[in-house]
């Protein structure tokens, strides 16, 4: 007896097979047959399946990531310090063994000194930004802060080549170079101290900044309204009193100046004009009216601030990355009309201004 292959029969068979597959899947789930325990390895076939799926997904999804040409010496200290705060506990570091608690995760977090070499920088960027489902790997906690993600991605990329000594120097930054508390030492890994300027010009100079502005910024990080995957986790555990202590410490700190890069005279002149007069045609108000000597203690002083930090923040603002706070909205209004040239000019102008000493504020 032969069965004639008709479209109708094929369709019914297909539906039947799919239905059977769903029933089997539900049976497995409801029967509890599959052992979900993390205390044993995945069976080899499942391990292969999950690994291939993960690798191909990263390759496909990261294919449109554009590599941003960050200067390595600027981002490595930042990436290293954040790696130590947020990543080393699971992934280990040249001087840190993986914590046994996290080593018993399934899949266990790979030691990146070895495994980072499996990925290219855009793939690392994508992984750090988005994280992995069904593993302990989280997505980046600062919305819109691709600049920070790049710092960590480029650091992780450089990690396999790094000696323990190099890593420790990068990750610890200025910590230990001052006489102060553990709390301050934590911050000094990136920010300046009495002896040293901040470890990267992308990290703001805080010494001598207005205390009320510093406190506001810390509070905004704590409230998850100012976005930073680096600052938010650090401030998360701090009490109000800690925040106030930090604000006072940095306001009084006399941080050594970091010599700014050499700037073209015409660029500085353009920056000065923007800062003092603004640009009426483009509806750009003069910076000095808000950031001058007589301005509200809520507004930061900019004199002597690092060029790279100012430029980076202005770009961030113009891309909508800092408009969640009431003060941030105000600056967003200004920065959306600034061209990149103008951002650089005005950043250069403020970077070359002599900084007022900490005690005088």
């Amino acid at each position: 007896m032969t069965i004639e292959l008709t479209a109708k029969r094929i369709l019914i068979t297909l539906i039947g097979l799919i239905g059977a597959a769903v029933v089997v899947a539900l049976l497995i789930a409801y029967s509890g047959l599959y052992n979900i325990a993390a205390s044993r390895e995945h069976p080899a076939w499942l391990d292969w399946f999950l690994t291939v799926g993960m690798q191909e997904s990263v390759k496909k999804n990261s294919s449109d990531v554009d590599v941003v040409p960050w200067e390595l010496n600027r981002v490595l200290p930042l990436g290293a310090a954040h790696f130590q705060t947020g990543c080393a506990v699971c992934h280990g570091a040249p001087d840190i063994r993986i914590n046994p608690v996290f080593d018993h995760m399934l899949p266990s977090p790979p030691p990146l000194s070895k495994h980072a070499a499996d990925w290219k920088p855009p793939q690392l960027f994508w992984i750090i930004k988005h994280g992995f489902q069904f593993t302990g790997m989280p997505g980046w906690s600062g919305d819109g802060r691709d600049d920070e993600v790049w710092a960590v991605a480029l650091f992780v990329d450089a990690l396999p080549e790094m000696s323990e000594q190099e890593y420790v120097t990068l990750a610890n930054g200025n910590a230990g170079s001052s006489e102060s508390s553990a709390l301050i030492n934590h911050c000094s890994r990136c920010h300046g101290t009495q002896q040293a300027a901040s470890t990267s010009p992308l990290v703001p100079r805080l010494g001598g900044q207005k205390p009320q502005y510093l406190l506001r910024s810390l509070q905004e990080y704590n409230d998850n309204v100012r976005q930073s995957g680096i600052m938010e986790p650090l401030v998360n555990d701090l009490e109000k009193a800690d925040l106030a202590q930090l604000a006072q410490y940095y306001a009084r700190l006399d941080e050594p100046a970091q010599s700014p890069p050499e700037f073209d005279g015409a660029l500085l002149e353009e920056g000065r004009t923007l800062a003092e007069v603004g640009d009426r045609q483009k509806l750009i108000p003069a910076c000095a009216q808000c950031h001058g000597a007589a301005s509200s203690p809520d507004f930061p002083a900019l004199d002597g601030q690092h060029y790279a930090y100012l430029r980076n923040q202005l770009i961030l603002w113009s891309q909508g990355g800092r408009q969640e706070t009431a003060h941030g909205k105000l600056m967003a209004f200004v920065s959306r009309n600034l061209s990149l040239d103008q951002m650089e000019a005005v950043s250069a102008w403020y970077a070359t201004r002599p900084v007022a000493s900490g005690a005088s504020r």
Partner: protein
């Protein structure tokens, strides 16, 4: 405070109203004539109908009459237009430059000593004196229109259009932007105050002077500390911004925000706190972080800028 095209405040506006009336009356008479002729064509005796169908009716009534009437009207129209130019000797006039901006009016006056100064959203002029308004725009096309003064003229970016007016009746008149210019166009109005020469001279003197405000006013510190001065000028203080309206004597103006609100302390406070709702899309940024007390003190300071 009227904004009617039928009530004129000056001789030139009067001739325009006259022209309007002539046109309406003539049009009414002609319409009546056409209706009568149509009625004849439909219902009259055949002898009347045949007279109406003669060729000379078309030649005289359909060609000669419109040509003559429209030519007279055109010549009269040109005469009315040129009147505005002829009646003004430039050096005896008051020269005011007007810039349309989204969505307010920037006025620049020349003081007695020859220096210029700015004010906004309120056009003050002397009566019985030729006024030359130099109109342009900072962004898009606006149109300057105070109906009681007669005439309406576009304000075009990169070009200066000149409007000449003379007003005889003192009073307060309302005007508005008459060319759609974006979001808040409907709230781009202004008041114009026509006042006798002596009063105008006194106003010009006080308006050109620096702001009268006590140096230690709390509201002033809030104004300067929060960067309001980066867009607004208050002469006599460090506030020197030129992006937004000059506020040196804002407390003495009839309206706030280009005719949007009546000037009062309460309205200053309401404006600062809720201007995005009151005049949507206006270019001032929000100051959500200011406390109620800050806003109150700011409003007091601004309303005292007489």
């Amino acid at each position: 405070m009227n904004q009617s095209v039928y009530s004129s405040a000056g001789s030139y506006a009067e001739t325009i109203v006259q022209l309007t009336h002539i046109m309406f009356v003539a049009a009414a008479v002609i319409t009546l004539l056409v209706v009568v002729l149509t009625a004849i064509a439909l219902f009259a005796k055949p002898s009347w109908k045949s007279k109406l169908s003669k060729e000379r009716v078309v030649v005289w009534g359909g060609i000669a009459f419109p040509v003559v009437t429209l030519t007279i009207l055109l010549i009269y129209g040109f005469m009315v237009l040129s009147m505005a130019d002829l009646q003004i000797e430039e050096d005896e006039s008051v020269q005011i430059s007007v810039v349309g901006e989204q969505w307010w009016w920037r006025f620049t006056y020349t003081a007695e000593d020859g220096t210029t100064f700015e004010t906004a959203n309120e056009l003050r002029i002397p009566t019985d004196k030729p006024i030359v308004l130099r109109l342009t725009s900072a962004d898009v096309i606006h149109s300057f229109w105070i109906p009681a003064y007669g005439g309406k003229l576009d304000m075009i970016p990169g070009r200066e259009n000149v409007m000449k007016i003379e007003v005889n009746k003192p009073g307060v008149y309302r005007g508005q932007c008459a060319e759609y210019c974006g979001g808040a166009h409907a709230l781009m109005s202004m008041y114009s105050v026509a006042m006798p020469q002596e009063e105008f001279d006194a106003w010009l003197k006080s308006e050109s002077a620096d702001a009268a405000s006590s140096a230690d006013a709390k509201g002033k510190q809030i104004f300067l500390g929060n960067g309001c001065g980066s867009c607004h000028t208050i002469r006599g203080t460090t506030a020197s911004g030129t992006i937004g309206p000059d506020l040196t004597h804002v407390g003495s103006r009839i309206s706030l925000a280009a005719g949007t609100l009546r000037t009062s302390k309460e309205n200053f406070a309401g404006w600062i706190a809720n201007h995005k709702q009151i005049k949507p899309e206006n270019k001032m940024p929000g100051y959500d972080y200011l406390s109620d007390v800050d806003v109150e003190q700011l409003a007091t300071f601004l309303s005292e800028l007489k």
